[in-house]
Symmetry: C2
Subunit: 167 residues, 2 copies
DNA sequence: TGGAAACATTTTAGGCCTAAAATGTTTCCA
DNA sequence: TGGAAACATTTTAGGCCTAAAATGTTTCCA
């Protein structure tokens, strides 16, 4: 009873964040740990696939994805906000992608503090190849859900987001 | 239409992973990005709180949490599986926690390849102080949800997990 | 108009994390 | 019984990430 581990239908022990819960732990904690487990698992599958198939990383992919839909480019600060990572981090990733020729970073004439970052043609091509595979992977990972479940889950996660924005 | 950003009720622009979606992007991708946004936001709140209040990190906290419910201790490999991180990572964090006196790592007499890792009394006390606050934070972050919503969300995330384990 | 404050970005120091190679131990079996 | 294979862990090289300090630019206002 003390050391039991929740098991799947096939009774494979399920080892992950949730294993640390006591019987009486709070529902919110349990929910948070399940959320974390899901996104960690998906993230690690995607990271592995990007590495194997394109020799790149998820942060680089996300960076390119943000630029892809804004042809006029984004500033470093906007990228930082959209990617939800620190400015310092954006600086580092941008420098690498510039080095790889996928991204162009040029100072704004009207404000010498800011830089405008855009995809290069090469970057646009590379991203579109990756994005296609990426979508297939995600569909493969989440495809078990019925359309109705997807909608329900979207709605509930939106409620979670609402709560976070006001907390 | 091209550059619109989803807004909250108060019309604050919502800048995060989801901003990169085109109108016609696939539902699975949208769901994945929303999941990622939620867990990134929660994670970053908890990380900040742990740093400010206890000058520690989420990985260290998670490490201690796994040990807390298993008084006889865990091997490095078990910790790696439960925390869903690489063995090398567990080695590093364990070394730090041993240095801080929160954790004890001793070789197993019957198998000199493996180490048994346990909380020290100091580690147990430190963890229980942190865990109490941690639970309050999580409840604060997810508390907006009704109990019924929590149950629904748990069920749907479990479906996601099922899908991942077979994919 | 000159200097403080705000702003955008980069640098720094240090922790987290991974994959792959290396190390040491145990098991297995020809 | 000796060596290959499996196993548990650590080391290595390198990318990601943060907070805080530093740098350079612009704005604001007394």
């Amino acid at each position: 009873m003390d050391n039991t581990v929740i098991t799947d239908a096939d009774s494979t022990p399920r080892l992950n964040h949730e294993t640390r819960l006591h019987e009486d732990d709070h529902h919110s904690i349990k929910l948070w740990l399940r959320l974390l487990t899901c996104s960690s698992l998906i993230e690690s599958r995607l990271r592995g696939a990007l590495r194997e198939e394109f020799d790149t990383t998820l942060p680089r992919f996300d960076f390119l994805a943000q630029l892809e839909r804004v042809p006029e480019g984004l500033t470093m600060g906007e990228l930082s906000r959209r990617l939800m990572v620190s400015g310092g981090n954006v600086s580092g990733i941008a420098a690498q992608l510039v080095g790889e020729g996928l991204v162009d970073r040029s100072p704004l004439p009207e404000n010498r503090r800011t830089f405008m970052v855009k995809l290069t043609p090469k970057g646009r091509k590379a991203f579109s190849r990756m994005a296609q595979r990426h979508e297939q992977w995600v569909i493969g990972l989440l495809g078990l859900l019925e359309p109705g479940e997807v909608d329900q889950l979207m709605g509930l996660l939106d409620r979670v987001k609402q709560g976070l924005h006001q907390a």
